[in-house]
């Protein structure tokens, strides 16, 4: 208890550390938001709950790392991972996901859980469980007399994440395919009647999701560390973010992702790192409960 108060006191006495925590939180939240955005897409459009989300991220990370090891600058990992994961996602769709669409909740959850296991184990066999990182060779920016440090690679990563998100959002809003995706998510039957090849749209959406995750993974490899079994943390956070933000609320997903990054940093600072994960799921439960009571009230009004 004393340490908690002392930690809060640090933030009061030296407010500059708030800046540091918020920055760190936003930067890591950006990556969470990307993975969660992809999940919101496949969940919303094709009602597939993809538990292999985090493992796509790790795959992207390993692609980048392998490139960096062979002397290519890890920045090129972003497009390469994007394309490679697009192909992987498409293949996976044809092999498994296509047979899962339209079935009940647990089919997609468990099928993708199986996929997640296979991916992480194959990564482990190929690259061992060593923690790896692809060094992009950037310095850290020092702000406020060195009290706040921002690694340049994080900033660049965040900018790239924002760019990617922006691109996807614009694409969804303005392009024909984007419109078709949105139409399919609203009513697949009507979309089919209107001449949209929903099968193609599903394949496209799933591949796009995998590709976004792959690009996010490239950022993770550059900014943090990767390991075959780290995928699950990204999967769980994606689910928490999407469930908390609510389906079909894509800007909400991004906001929730950033917010979660920040809350995690503050939680880790004030309560101690051992509570970081518990805070995340605690937030999820809170959101669910609040939403449920709100709905119950709504139901009573109708009655």
């Amino acid at each position: 208890m004393d340490t908690i108060l002392a930690n809060i006191d640090i933030l009061r006495v030296a407010p500059v550390f708030n800046v540091q925590l918020i920055l760190d939180g936003l930067l890591i939240g950006g990556v969470f938001a990307l993975a969660a955005y992809g999940l919101a897409l496949v969940w919303g459009v094709m009602n597939v709950k993809n538990l292999a989300q985090g493992d796509f991220v790790m795959m992207g990370g390993y692609i980048t790392w392998v490139m960096a090891e062979s002397g290519i600058h890890p920045f090129f990992g972003i497009p390469v991972a994007f394309i490679a994961l697009w192909g992987f996602g498409w293949m996976l769709y044809k092999l498994v996901i296509a047979r899962v669409i339209g079935r009940d909740l647990f089919t997609s959850l468990l099928a993708t859980f199986g996929i997640a296991i296979v991916i992480e184990q194959v990564l482990n066999i190929l690259y061992t469980s060593d923690t790896q990182t692809a060094d992009a060779g950037f310095e850290s920016l020092l702000l406020f007399d060195g009290l706040v440090t921002v690694p340049q690679v994080k900033l660049i990563g965040f900018a790239l994440a924002a760019l990617l998100a922006l691109g996807v959002i614009l694409f969804m809003k303005n392009s024909r395919t984007g419109q078709a995706i949105r139409a399919t998510s609203q009513d697949p039957r009507a979309a089919r009647v209107m001449g949209i090849d929903t099968e193609k749209i599903y394949a496209f959406t799933f591949s796009l999701n995998a590709a976004i995750c792959g690009a996010a993974g490239a950022l993770v490899a550059m900014i943090w560390v990767i390991q075959p079994f780290f995928g699950i943390t990204y999967s769980i956070r994606s689910f928490v973010i999407v469930v908390a933000a609510g389906l079909g609320n894509l800007p909400g997903v991004i906001a929730a992702g950033l917010g979660m990054g920040v809350v995690e940093q503050f939680g880790g600072f004030v309560l101690g790192a051992e509570f970081q994960q518990a805070i995340v799921v605690g937030m999820l439960l809170l959101v669910l409960i609040i939403r449920q009571t709100l709905q119950a009230r709504k139901r009573q009004v109708v009655q």
């Binding site: 051992e274 518990a278 799921v281």
Partner: protein, 344 residues
């Protein structure tokens, strides 16, 4: 029909009692098999029969494990001192202390788990579909993390459980029969429960909750009661498992969300959801597959398991029992008109 059924049950019980005598070296594996059956049956009670797909039932398993550990140790020593004893001091339990602890521990584990299900039910059972699944998963993850931060319960260091007194094989057989008896009692209880009005009620909730409510069913009470039954047995099972393993630890033994927590769902799917026998068949088969891949595919066994999961889920959705019911409905007492042109 009933004679056949009674005979089948008798044979099953005889096998259960006889297994450790026939294959004494495999007793531990069979022990774990009963645990798996229990996990599958309890999950199916509210996942298959009531249609409430929880991903966090492992919470009750882990809670039972820790509650029982705290009771067993707390009866004789100070729990905090026991878990903090890094520096020395050997904690001994006499036979009498051990077995009183065990009995009380199991009981408390079951009762408190059931109560926690009823309480959680207030909060979570209004959630539907994926929200319920993710919400319950959240409870299990949070519990693991919080116990992992709780020094009184050993935090991440875990707790070494008191050791079973007597010869080495006594423990093996003892835990085998505890697991077997609990699984058998659960099976009998569920068989009876599903035949009562309660069984019909939870099936009605699964098939159409709004209509069931409209027919005057107090769905919330039923849902909470059903979840509590699952939790009661899971709590005791966790307590037994913790003692059997001998060392408990929050994330990988007690609240193992991505192992046992998901396996229980898989086993039910493999055997057939919403049937009494399905979870049992699924659990036995799943456990057997796992044991075999474990021995023969060192290091790649998880790849095989992952592929198997995908194949089960994608291609054998209705499960073995479901598939059999389609092919051989008469085995399940379903009368089918096989005349030409007859429709369902």
């Amino acid at each position: 029909m009933t004679v056949v059924k009674a005979l089948a049950y008798l044979i099953a019980i005889a096998i259960g009692i006889g297994l450790p005598f026939v294959f004494p070296n495999y007793t531990t594996q069979f022990s774990v098999m009963w645990v798996m059956i229990l996990l599958a049956l309890t999950w199916d009670a509210q996942g298959g029969q009531m249609g409430y797909n929880s991903l966090g039932n492992i919470f009750f398993f882990g809670a039972g494990m820790y509650i029982s550990a705290a009771v067993q140790i707390g009866l004789v020593y100070d729990v905090g001192e026991y878990t903090a004893a890094h520096g020395g001091g050997i904690y001994d339990f006499t036979s009498a202390q051990y077995f009183t602890g065990l009995a009380l521990g199991f009981l408390t584990a079951g009762v408190l788990s059931a109560i926690s299900a009823a309480v959680l039910g207030w909060v979570l059972i209004g959630l539907r579909g994926p929200y319920f699944a993710i919400g319950t998963l959240g409870v299990a993850i949070a519990a693991g993390e919080l116990v992992g931060a709780w020094d009184w319960l050993g935090a991440g260091s875990g707790i070494s459980m008191p050791t079973f007194p007597g010869a080495p094989d006594a423990a093996k057989f003892g835990f085998y029969y505890m697991n077997f008896v609990l699984a058998a009692v659960l099976f009998g209880f569920l068989a009876w429960l599903y035949s009562t009005r309660f069984g019909l009620a939870i099936n009605a909730i699964r098939d159409d909750e709004e209509k069931a409510e409209g027919m005057g069913l107090h769905t919330k009470t039923y849902k909470r009661a059903c979840w509590s039954v699952s939790a009661f047995f899971l709590g005791i099972s966790g307590a037994i498992f913790g003692n059997m393993i001998g060392f408990i630890e929050p994330l990988e033994v007690a609240f193992q969300t991505i192992n046992f927590g998901i396996f229980m769902v898989l086993m039910v799917l493999l055997g057939g959801k919403g049937t009494l026998l399905g979870p049992v068949v699924g659990a036995i088969l799943f456990h057997a597959i796992k044991e075999v891949t474990w021995t023969h595919m060192l290091g790649t066994q998880w790849v095989a398991l992952g592929l198997l999961i995908v194949i089960i889920v994608v291609f054998f959705q209705q499960g073995i029992i479901g598939w059999l019911r389609d092919k051989r409905p008469e085995w399940f007492g379903i009368r089918v008109d096989r005349r030409e042109g007859a429709t369902s």
